[in-house]
């Protein structure tokens, strides 16, 4: 646990006025540079987990929290969110609502967070442009954020957080409002970010095909409990045996159908990605 950049122990949280716990006794440890996906049905606690990892639970969303949450060396339950922002970034599903409204160009929007952190003026433009290049938005630096497409606005939100160089980046369904092209662009950005190995990424998604192909590790939440944790292929294969509401990728469904028709041996490991499906077919 000492080397973990994310260490959650016995986390239980109930929103104020709620009748049930949104998270029930979660234990989770994530190391530096890991890419972890979070899957689960609606109301399974994915967003609450994202907010707990970034301090919005309990500082922004009030309720009763039990347990400990340590992220990038911060006790999140005791540190204000504004002080966590330098080390822990959050991107959520609505691209439009992540535009601050305080700046008029894309470049200024990205620099906004750095200004608030008091980053030296000479570094504001280079760091902002670096983030824009990493997200493929450098040509749009002088545009108004409101003139960007939904996918571009979501990349802008990622750029604005990336520029702050957090140790941990949490993304809560970042592609839920995007079309396939926008989704692809977001995952390509995250792949580039993941290559440096310094940023720990935790990503919740319903698009299992993308998640399975992208993350090294997948956890599943069901009614606020962590019910599975491991490589995506193993976890999603286990998920089809349970009623966790996670679903399956198209490749898994095809393999299950083939198995039912006797075209695939019963013990064959179920694929979750295209590459794995091709491997099974061979």
């Amino acid at each position: 646990m000492e080397s973990a950049v994310i260490a959650v122990s016995g986390l239980r949280f109930r929103y104020a006025g709620a009748e049930q716990d949104a998270l029930q006794g979660l234990d989770l440890s994530i190391g530096e540079g890991e890419l972890v996906g979070v899957a689960g049905a609606n109301e399974s606690g994915k967003s609450t987990l994202c907010y707990a990892l970034t301090g919005y639970v309990p500082h922004f969303f009030s309720g009763t929290l039990v347990g400990s949450v340590s992220i990038a060396g911060h006790d999140v339950t005791r540190t204000p969110v504004s002080l966590l922002a330098a080390d822990i970034g959050l991107v959520f599903h609505n691209p439009f609502n992540q535009i601050s409204g305080a700046r008029t160009t894309v470049l200024e929007e990205v620099a906004f967070g750095l200004e608030n952190l008091g980053v030296e003026q000479a570094l504001l433009r280079p760091r902002s442009m670096q983030a824009l290049r990493a997200t493929g938005l450098d040509d749009l630096a002088d545009r108004s954020p409101y003139t960007l497409s939904g996918g571009e606005q979501q990349r802008l939100a990622i750029a604005a957080v990336m520029a702050m160089q957090p140790k941990v980046l949490v993304l809560d369904e970042p592609t839920s409002q995007l079309d396939p092209a926008g989704t692809r662009a977001i995952f390509e950005v995250l792949r580039r970010l993941a290559r440096d190995g310094r940023t720990t990424i935790v990503l919740t998604e319903h698009k299992l095909g993308w998640l399975a192909a992208f993350v090294d590790r997948l956890i599943v939440l069901h009614t606020g409990r962590l019910v599975a944790d491991g490589p995506p292929r193993d976890v999603l294969a286990e998920a089809v045996e349970h009623t966790w509401g996670v679903g399956a990728t198209r490749y898994t469904r095809a393999a299950l159908a083939a198995r039912r028709q006797g075209q695939l041996a019963a013990g064959t490991r179920l694929p979750v990605t295209l590459e794995q499906a091709l491997e099974v077919l061979r």
């Binding site: 970034t54 919005y56 922004f60 204000p80 969110v81 504004s82 002080l83 922002a85 330098a86 970034g89 959050l90 991107v91 959520f92 609505n94 439009f96 609502n97 992540q98 535009i99 601050s100 409204g101 305080a102 700046r103 008029t104 470049l107 200024e108 620099a111 906004f112 967070g113 750095l114 200004e115 608030n116 952190l117 008091g118 980053v119 030296e120 003026q121 504001l124 433009r125 902002s128 108004s144 409101y146 003139t147 939100a157 604005a160 957080v161 702050m164």
Partner: protein
């Protein structure tokens, strides 16, 4: 985004935001203090119009002033003319007398409205709201207040776009939104609830996004944009402040006009 795509002249752009603000506030104070319509109109023609011309926005400036102001001028001229008593009757309409004194009051109020509206319009044309807020934050205005002002200035296009989207959705479900006034008024009712609710949801998510950018972090902030200033402009701001104070003193002590 209001005012974002407009072309401002370099001269007007080079003004420090506080200089622009001071200039327009001086115009407003002058308009409110001077006792006669010709003098107030001179403020409009002598201060605001030349600045709008310098900013190459004269046409848009005058059109905006005219478009917004004319209903108020018509109302003032009618109401003040017919209901302000005075010895000089210009004409009669039934039992009502239209007086010269009423017309003078109407013209004075109209001129003051023109200067106030003109100053606000000109400020929007020649000053980026975020630049103005940066300048005020540098002078000690809390970040949060500056943010509220900037986003309020930009809220109208956002609100309009959301209202159109809601109306489109309602129309696709059979709601009549065009036609006689009663029909359009009825369409207003199912628009208000979703508009307010969606705005409230947006507020929560935007607050989260702001926290993610360390908006409420205490301590020193830096700025990507350096606001150009000069000793001449600083001196001009002091002189404008003194002129505004002098006008207020003269207005309340010497003239005591309504």
């Amino acid at each position: 985004m209001t005012g974002d795509g407009s072309a401002r002249s370099d001269a007007a752009l080079r003004l420090h935001p506080l200089t622009s603000l001071g200039f327009n506030l001086l115009a407003v104070v002058a308009g409110a203090s001077l006792p006669s319509a010709p003098l107030v109109l001179a403020v409009f023609l002598g201060l605001l119009v030349p600045m709008a011309a310098l900013a190459r926005r004269l046409g848009a400036f005058l059109r905006t002033c005219a478009r917004v102001l004319w209903p108020f001028v018509v109302s003032l001229v009618l109401i003040q003319g017919f209901f302000t008593p005075g010895p000089s009757v210009l004409f009669r309409l039934g039992p009502f007398n239209y007086t010269l004194q009423g017309l003078e009051v109407a013209l004075l109020f109209s001129a003051r409205l023109l200067v106030g509206l003109g100053a606000a319009t000109l400020l929007m044309f020649i000053t980026r709201p975020d630049a103005l807020m940066r300048a005020l934050v540098e002078r000690g205005l809390p970040n949060q207040i500056a943010y509220i002002v900037v986003t309020t200035l930009q809220i109208v296009p956002t609100f309009q776009a959301r209202a159109h989207a809601i109306l489109d959705a309602q129309r696709s479900r059979g709601l009549e939104t065009e036609g006689p006034l009663p029909v359009r008024l009825r369409a207003f009712v199912p628009l208000v609830g979703p508009l307010i609710l969606s705005s409230l949801m947006e507020i929560e998510e935007r607050a989260i996004a702001l926290e993610a950018r360390a908006f409420n972090r205490p301590g020193r902030r830096t700025s990507l944009v350096t606001l150009a200033d000069s000793r001449l402009q600083a001196l001009a701001r002091w002189l404008m402040l003194l002129a505004a104070l002098a006008l207020i003193v003269v207005r309340f002590i010497l003239w005591r006009a309504p």
